[in-house]
Subunit: 215 residues, 2 copies
């Protein structure tokens, strides 16, 4: 099965997780105190530096969803549809709207859910089911990560996740193609106008999309 | 163009809006004070009883999104894709999770956005664009609406909207087919398990879907 990816740019989440697993425990950081951060949505790490899945991410601000998105021309798997939902803590969302930049300690959560057509009275299109097929995080933590950001893919057990290595394609792809602050704001319709108005767009993104229709 | 509809069950939003327009000012209620309700997400009405668009609905809790959903077998419009995003105020979401029922003064907002495939580096599937094609509200206000709930469709100018008449198909359809409290909880994946566990499912929905796969 081929998961989405707003974050992983066509790199299968399962592959990313396998890489993470191999590196478990490689980097050791002090555990983050749980006080203060639970409300703010700031990242929490375990004693080995793995990211703890934010339990309340569905209560965060919704940035957008897509379906069957892929950054390659490879065809999708027949008969399988995958939504991606992206959430960010309320304080981070408010800060981005003011500045066009994510504040330090921002966590963006990407959730994949299987789509289905036939269910109850629905007959066309796709709705999202209870089946969560993937959870990834993109974390801004400038004291911790080279370049300021780290990617994480959680397994089905939702156990803390080790950082995906910097050599993974997600890092370079976000750096090059993401509309603002290495995040795919071009796919977050309430934030793209904000970043545009604040002059916060990545020049490489602007050049790459100059002939595209707006919005 | 054929908009979706979690709320309007295949009734084109444009048709619903036309109906609303014809009834503008039919029912007169006292204007709701703005204090107290802004935080809670409770409905606000103008002096003629029209619903004021909640300006901050994108900051509410996201229930789910679908794409090209329709409750009829009629084929979709070729080359046009439409997402629907549903939001509910945080306090109402928390109350539903406790009780399986929406508290009085709950507003569910449905937002339609055009989907697009080609944009920036995306090559497959659909992402949501800045083009909002429809905004509808489903409001629980037991002192105001027969059966407790009213539907509203906002025009492109986002002006206050008159209630869609009770004879519109959305009312009977939600009463008959919606999974819980006349809302399509079967399409809200974090709430369906809650309503199921709390015994809050509509018996007609349970009977209608007894042979379907779960979740």
């Amino acid at each position: 099965m081929k998961p989405l990816a707003l974050f992983s740019a066509g790199v299968a989440a399962t592959a990313a997780l396998a890489v993470c697993g191999a590196l478990a425990g490689m980097t050791v950081h002090a555990e983050t105190p749980q006080s203060d951060v639970a409300q703010s949505g700031a990242p929490r790490y375990d004693a080995s530096g793995k990211l703890i899945l934010p339990a309340d991410y569905r209560d965060w601000v919704f940035l957008s969803s897509g379906i069957d998105m892929s950054y390659t021309e490879a065809p999708a798997v027949a008969g399988m549809h995958m939504f991606d939902n992206v959430f960010v803590p309320r304080a981070a969302y408010a800060a981005f709207k003011r500045t066009g930049v994510w504040p330090d300690k921002t966590v963006l959560m990407l959730e994949n859910r299987t789509g289905r057509t036939k269910g109850s009275i629905n007959r066309q299109g796709q709705f999202q089911t209870g089946e969560v097929m993937g959870l990834e995080a993109h974390v801004k933590d400038t004291a911790r990560f080279k370049g300021g950001w780290g990617f994480f893919g959680f397994g089905g057990d939702h156990a803390p996740a080790a950082m995906i290595p910097y050599a993974a394609s997600c890092y370079a792809c976000h750096q090059t193609h993401a509309a603002a602050d290495t995040t795919f704001v071009q796919f977050y319709p309430t934030l793209l106008p904000v970043a545009t108005a604040l002059g916060a767009l990545n020049p490489a993104y602007v050049a790459e999309t100059k002939d595209e229709p707006k919005p």
